[in-house]
């Protein structure tokens, strides 16, 4: 694992980099959207008709309770994580009950995605797994809560979700077997590959990237 040591960008730094990157690719992205692309009229180029009101007022206000019901995403800084807690030991039981059929006894055997990636990246990992590719541990919560287990998505409790993530991360050698995860410790898990992700540098024009 020593190859993973060294400079690691913090989440905040990465976000800044990513935002700059998108700004940098703007000229290419918006090329052709201006008038004269053959199909933009005033409305489809974002300008409303001259007599449009400043507010149409269609739709109904989303109450705070309503927002809370659907706002289930989790960000790298931990924003969105629910309260709850889980250990890798408890997670092993969750895994064997709800995940093993599709991801295999040790997370390696499938038939669906391998959940363990230990082999070093080199110039490219043969298998892009959690340990050797995923940049953020929080993404596991966001994804599993929304999409897994695939046959019953969204069915795990918060405790079960923390637990199964702790187990998966321990299978990847990133957490010890007695680790406990919650809203504070999950965002703090250091993912070895975080600093390997770079913004898109393709900009059109003659360069091939």
């Amino acid at each position: 694992m020593s190859r993973f040591d060294g400079a690691r960008l913090t989440c905040v730094t990465f976000v800044v980099v990513a935002v700059c990157a998108v700004a940098a690719c703007d000229p290419g992205v918006s090329a052709g959207n201006a008038e004269g692309d053959g199909q933009a009229d005033a409305v489809s180029s974002g300008q409303l008709p001259a007599n449009a009101p400043s507010l149409f007022g269609f739709g109904s206000p989303a109450s705070a309770a309503r927002v809370a019901l659907w706002d289930i995403d989790v960000r790298p800084d931990g924003e969105g994580l629910p309260s709850g807690t889980g250990t890798a030991a408890a997670g092993k039981q969750v895994y064997e009950m709800y995940c093993i059929a599709c991801h295999g006894p040790t997370g390696n055997e499938g038939p669906n995605d391998r959940l363990v990636g230990m082999e070093p990246w080199g110039d490219w990992p043969g298998t892009r797994g959690i340990g050797n590719y995923w940049p953020y541990a929080t993404t596991l919560f966001d994804y599993i809560r929304k999409a897994m287990p695939q046959n019953a998505p969204g069915s795990l409790t918060a405790d079960q979700t923390y637990a199964v993530i702790a187990y998966i991360l321990s299978l990847n050698g990133l957490l010890s077997a007695d680790a406990v995860l919650d809203a504070t410790t999950l965002p703090a898990v250091e993912m070895p590959m975080r600093d390997r992700f770079v913004p898109d540098d393709r900009v059109g024009g003659p360069s091939i990237r």
């Binding site: 053959g38 989303a62 309503r66």
Partner: protein
């Protein structure tokens, strides 16, 4: 009586009988006459001028002999099916042949129940129903949607196939006229707060597909699309409403859209970290590689077609770029040694497929034909060697290198990139 009614009468016998009835002048009423009209599938060799045709109908059908089909990969919740590019004309993909890529199956959403919540860094968090969205000023535009995994089957030097059709190779590409409300209109309505720079788009399917999208794109040409080729968007394309990000990789065009959260950072979802990122040769991985670079493919002649004889053949195909308009497509009929510009068929629209064609007199000798698209930024569709040089050999997304077809002296057409390595 019709042959369907169990009389055991063959169709020919029935036709003979009914024409006998007509000839004998036994018809009493006009209703008798129209009940004799042929209602069935075509019979080989029939003289259609001698048999009345079918009635009008509520829903049209393809001619029974025309059977374009999508090509499904696997029967699974997370799977794809591809558009039969080689069977299509013009630039529009019939809606029922639009490619599919789902991560949790196709939800059966009832439009009247569907809601889109827009919240986060906005002044007025709002829930929109479809009737609300449809009340806003409407736009219609023709754009392609392409999965960034398109062409992923032909990037590996050691596994370069020869028996691949345009559909199998590049069928994760479709073009539609999309109708809906510009996202900028909706964002204006909810009032985006200063400091916002991204949004999270989330689907109402069982994968709750989630992608972060820069606010610049959202304010530029992004659309909430509820129409496709003149009718309601198909369930497989995101009914009742999807996000359309013209020119950007298909996955970010979130279908069955139910939530938009305006934020000041990307959410770093699984589909923008674990997947849809591009490992490069220097050990880094490119992230948020949204734009689909210029690409083209010859759809005729292509595998498994066999040119029956030398002579005049029209090379036909599609070109497209996520960066605006295609300005030129070059054709080579001599393995990439010399190139000539193809004819581009209008309309040539921004971020839409364009048809190209080139009249070619094949001399009957073995060769490899290629196409190469150029877009308005001056970008030239690269060779696979150029992509390998820039990215390394193992990244599988965004494979937009030049496609090639080998034509044997026997007229047999096969995928020909392996010939050029």
């Amino acid at each position: 009586m019709s042959p369907k009614e169990g009389s055991g009468l063959s169709r020919r016998a029935w036709l003979a009988t009914t024409s006998g009835v007509i000839a004998a002048g036994l018809l009493k009423t006009q209703a008798d006459a129209v009940s004799l009209v042929a209602q069935e599938a075509p019979v080989v060799g029939q003289d259609h001028t001698k048999v009345p045709g079918r009635f009008v109908s509520e829903l049209g059908q393809r001619a029974p002999g025309e059977r374009p089909r999508r090509l499904p990969r696997t029967q699974a919740l997370s799977s794809s099916s591809r558009t039969p590019l080689q069977d299509l004309h013009g630039i529009i993909t019939p809606a029922d042949l639009h490619f599919e890529r789902h991560h949790g199956g196709v939800p059966n959403i009832i439009a009247e129940e569907h809601e889109l919540m827009v919240h986060g860094m906005v002044d007025r968090p709002t829930v929109f129903r479809m009737a609300d969205l449809k009340r806003y000023p409407q736009s219609s535009r023709i754009h392609f949607v392409e999965c960034s995994g398109n062409g992923g089957g032909v990037y590996n030097r050691d596994r370069m196939p020869t028996d691949v059709t345009p559909q199998a190779l590049d069928g994760l590409l479709s073009t539609s006229e999309w109708s809906g409300v510009m996202l900028s209109t909706i964002l204006r309505e909810v009032g985006v707060r200063p400091g916002a720079s991204w949004l999270l788009a989330e689907g109402g399917d069982s994968a709750v597909m989630s992608r972060s999208v820069p606010l610049d794109k959202a304010m530029d040409d992004a659309m909430l699309a509820y129409g496709q080729n003149g009718e309601a968007i198909r369930p497989e394309q995101g009914y009742p409403v999807r996000l359309l990000l013209p020119g950007w990789e298909g996955n970010a065009n979130v279908k069955w859209l139910r939530r938009i959260e305006v934020t000041d950072q990307p959410t770093m979802t699984r589909e923008e970290t674990s997947r849809y990122t591009d490992p490069l040769k220097d050990g880094t991985a490119r992230q948020f590689s949204f734009v689909m670079d210029a690409k083209s493919i010859i759809t005729f002649p292509s595998y498994p077609y066999v040119l029956p004889e030398p002579g005049w053949w029209e090379i036909k195909g599609l070109a497209w770029t996520g960066r605006g308009r295609i300005t030129r497509v070059d054709i080579s009929t001599d393995r990439g040694v010399t190139w000539v510009p193809a004819e581009l068929q209008v309309p040539i629209l921004s971020k839409a497929t364009v048809r190209f064609r080139h009249l070619w007199e094949w001399d009957g000798r073995e060769t490899v034909i290629l196409s190469r698209a150029v877009d308005e930024t001056g970008y030239v569709q690269p060779t696979i060697q150029q992509l390998w040089e820039a990215r390394g050999e193992r990244t599988n997304y965004h494979q937009n290198h030049q496609r090639a077809w080998r034509i044997g002296a026997d007229g047999v057409v096969t995928f020909g990139l392996g010939e050029l390595l």
